[in-house]
Symmetry: C2
Subunit: 589 residues, 2 copies
């Protein structure tokens, strides 16, 4: 597997065999390790000293379903801490076909130059890369730029592209990735990695796999045995066989609303009176009636197919895929109870490569401050257009909920470490509150989703344990390139994961090895943040979540601070324990 290093300041490109010490690191484990090792934690996140690290998961490219996710990593301009954000689609898939383990983009294009990095099949079938001119794409929306990229480099290319907010270095900007149909509909959304691309003058990463159609396996038999069990589990587990394919992530609308945790009118309530108009049933029926696709795979070979293609009354696509987080943050959180309205907001965000979580939370705060009325979808779109255009107001909103709330003087600002809380109010889903507070990533449900854990979400007890467990699971999945939705199908047969890894790489890792490595990376991420000046003071939810009872149940977030500190301090302690254990085992051999 190859490391590709592109230095945009010097214009140099290097492709070299990845050092063996990174062999078991992929996806988030690899981006976070490289950022930890190579990026000065006090550098300007929007300066040339930051690095954008792109790494497909360890299993990416393989035929095992839902395993092509790709991680982007850097120091975040939104949180100031370490950041990883991953997406489905085809970038990870095609990088893996080429044998690329990571692309590290360093430096920044000279003043006024706008570039793309193109990865392709070089001489001898080895991966190569070049810096291409992107001047013609600059200033264009992700869809427009995407079409031009396909025109210039072929429609078979995968790409990740930024919109104008990323170009303007606004920290609510991510990068849009091609899905399996070549539509820039998937997103490495969180933490402003699109702004990091923009700060480097990097409009797009383009991946042309050339003649490559499959990845190699060190132990094909073992891999396929694992794969068989994995796919069989996916097809027999209710969540992955029924719920996700049928309803997608929107199934969460009713679940979370019933828990009283659906963000409503800037987290003023956990219950939305029009939830039925925007829930999974409404979504599915609307899509079916209009001839859209209610069960779409975002990446090749995915059997879960949790995505959708949302169309208008005439059957024309508005957006793909309308997900729960968008419905929660850009719908109920803005008092908007109409799927068409939400889809159009989503579309505008996608055109800009904007994180719908951050934008939904930001607009909620802006509405709270009186910049628009809750429920006014047209006003919401007008505010997003301000971001796309980069007006002063747009630049403010494009800096996300925390900064917007600070400037506008709003008391209830749903953010941790400068990053917006996802669509689960932490007063009602307390395990996620622990994750939001303690993850090095800032508030991010994908860093440790506890919704499906056997805890009473309303009670403070057991939430720390649930979050600690799921933060490890999420790290393992994000490192393998596996969609976390597969979690339910393998959680009782985790050895499948080891089989897939060993089959692919010819290694002999155990499940415990994978989790031990996950803890090491989690500890590394926290350590990066500490060096960046993010002490445990920042590992807290906003006080308002402890102080203001959430209707309808009147709950506050009440997991004690010392439990939060146990989490962040815990990773290093667990690593120490792991190493002592390994030493003891080694001594006993």
């Amino acid at each position: 597997m190859t490391f590709i290093r592109v230095n945009l300041s010097t214009g140099t490109v290097k492709a070299q065999e990845a050092p063996t010490r990174y062999r078991l690191l992929g996806g988030r484990a690899l981006t976070s390790t490289l950022v930890f090792e190579e990026v000065d934690p006090t550098c300007d996140p929007l300066g040339p000293d930051n690095k954008l690290v792109v790494a497909p998961g360890l299993l990416s490219g393989g035929p095992a379903s839902s395993n092509h996710r790709v991680s982007f990593g850097a120091r975040s301009p939104l949180t100031g801490g370490i950041k990883e954000s991953n997406a489905g689609g085809t970038v990870g898939y095609q990088l893996s076909l080429l044998g690329v383990k990571a692309v590290v983009v360093e430096g920044a294009a000279p003043e006024g130059r706008r570039v793309a990095v193109r990865v392709f099949e070089g001489p001898g079938g080895r991966p190569a890369a070049e810096i291409a001119d992107a001047g013609a794409w600059w200033g264009k929306s992700t869809y427009e730029a995407g079409a031009l990229i396909h025109e210039a480099h072929g429609a078979h290319c995968a790409f990740a592209v930024i919109g104008t907010p990323g170009e303007m270095r606004l920290p609510a900007a991510g990068a849009m990735h091609t899905d399996k149909d070549g539509v820039p509909a998937r997103i490495t959304a969180r933490g402003g990695l699109g702004a990091v691309m923009g700060s480097k003058g990097l409009k797009a990463l383009i991946v042309d796999p050339g003649s490559r159609r499959r990845v190699d396996f060190a132990d094909r038999e073992r891999y396929h045995a694992g794969r068989k069990r994995y796919v069989s589990n996916l097809r027999t587990t209710p969540a992955t066989a029924e719920t996700y394919p049928r309803f997608g992530t929107a199934a969460m609308v009713d679940v979370v609303n019933n828990l009283g945790g659906l963000p409503t009118c800037n987290f003023a309530s956990g219950s939305f009176d029009r939830a039925e108009a925007i829930n999974a049933t409404a979504l599915r029926e609307t899509i079916l009636k209009r001839g859209g696709d209610p069960s779409h795979p975002c990446m090749p070979g995915c059997v879960i197919r949790s995505s959708n293609v949302y169309v208008d009354r005439c059957g024309n696509e508005i957006v793909r895929s309308l997900e729960y987080e968008t419905i929660g943050l850009c719908g109920s959180n803005l008092g908007i109870g109409d799927l068409d309205d939400i889809a159009r907001i989503n579309r505008l965000c996608n055109e800009g490569g904007l994180d719908t979580i951050e934008i939904g939370a930001t607009l909620g705060v802006a509405m709270e401050a009186g910049l628009a009325e809750f429920g006014d979808a047209e006003a919401a779109r007008r505010l997003i257009r301000e971001i796309l255009q980069g007006t002063v107001l747009g630049r403010l909103l494009g800096h996300g909920a925390a900064l917007t709330g600070r400037v506008l003087g709003v008391k209830r600002v749903p953010a941790v470490k400068g990053q917006a809380i996802s669509a689960y109010d932490p007063r009602a889903v307390k395990g996620l509150g622990v994750t939001y507070a303690t993850s090095a990533m800032g508030a991010d449900h994908t860093a440790g989703q506890t919704m499906r854990e056997a805890v009473e979400h309303h009670k403070p007890e057991g939430q720390r344990e649930a979050s600690v467990k799921m933060q490890q699971y999420c790290m393992v999945f994000d490192s393998l390139g596996l969609c976390v939705f597969a979690h339910n199908a393998v959680k009782d047969n985790l050895e499948i994961l080891a089989d897939l890894v060993n089959g692919r790489l010819g290694t002999s890792v155990t499940v415990e090895d994978l989790f031990r490595q996950a803890r090491e990376v989690l500890a590394r991420e926290v350590e990066f943040n500490r060096r960046a000046g993010l002490t445990e003071v920042y590992d807290r939810l906003p006080r308002v979540f402890r102080e203001e009872p959430l209707p309808p149940h009147g709950l506050v977030f009440d997991v004690p601070d010392d439990e939060l500190d146990q989490v962040t301090k815990g990773w290093a302690a667990l690593v120490k324990r792991d190493r002592a254990g390994a030493g003891a085992r080694g001594a006993g051999k």
Copy 2:
């Protein structure tokens, strides 16, 4: 001496004898100690858990000239760290006449209530306080509100009042204090303490000394002996006898411009081609020609008289007092070379109680971002009016240079810990660079002014030592209530300070005792910041000052980082050394 504690949440007022352990603490030493002891460093600076601590200097109220300064302290909404900001004028004087050692304002007025705290002569001549309604003054400028305060409570009252930016909790807001003529022309400017007042619903602190005309002395003879030497020194030292009375702080314009350190067009240059139009000579001649006052005392009994009253062509007052920092930040830094223009900008700031340093730096950043042309004074005033009115743009600007620069995407942002750098470019005056970076106060020349130290300002050598020395001096002066301009007159006879203190209090402190206490408080301030999450990562100048050479000399800031860390780590080490020394002396007795 009395501590007055006012809790605005509960409406309670308590006056009690100050604990004896605070006996030697006044001004900044007292505010920082009380903030350290009583304020949660992670509280919301704009929430009810923050406290506003008001403390006159230890010598305040006495007849020794230039000694009535009063400190305001709190957790800063601008920096997130500990903050002290002091002003001349009459608030400190009159609090001391009443025998008040500190006023601690806790909590916040109930939603919708706007209040003032009035301190007055209670039964038996003892100081008392009440919470008065300030509803009629809310929404008014400092001048308008000040006139109404005098109308309601008598023109003999001193007060500190906030303008609309403070009411709106904008962190560029300070509080305007009455000068000796009762004009709200002095300011506790820095760090957003006006916003802290606004967050508590506190429009003004009013001080009515009643029948009190003088303070008591424990050893009148010793005090007056000290005072005689002190005043004699003031009258024979060139700086205090000639420069300050004749030219005021504006004398710095030529000095700093010649050093190539005068902020010009958002710190793009250290040399301003129209410096002659705004220097001390131009200021003095303009004032004299028009019938203003070129040498005005800001507090009763001051022999330095460094202030001025700046008038228009018809002899009508525009502003008092036009100071160097304002000329530098709101003049040359904005490319504005006209004293009338600068005075009118200053006036607008004073009406809002805005810190002219923060505002000048912010407008420089805004001009750099293209919101106005450098040199356009009318545009500058228009932007300030946006702040006074609280538009979205105004709220952004009212959050200061650092946040404005971040949102507008400006590279050269002159701020440390979120607070704007004063009118000495740290590339040309490197000792101040050390102070800006390392002071717990954020970038603040008054925390350790090195301009008059015997160092080569352009060279990195010796700057750490100069800053460390002056940070101690400034702490001593700020704690005594002494104007730092008196420093030159006593620096070779520091025992005068001990005489004044001992004469006033009946103590037997040495000069070394005063400096030892200063180091203790400096260490306390740094420790507060650490607990607030401001690690040494924040004790840095913006990188651009290390990287971008400053015209005309091409210097960068090049004092090594480890020297900066030596300063902040140094206070605790010095305190340890001091205590060990005290122990050794104690053991030898």
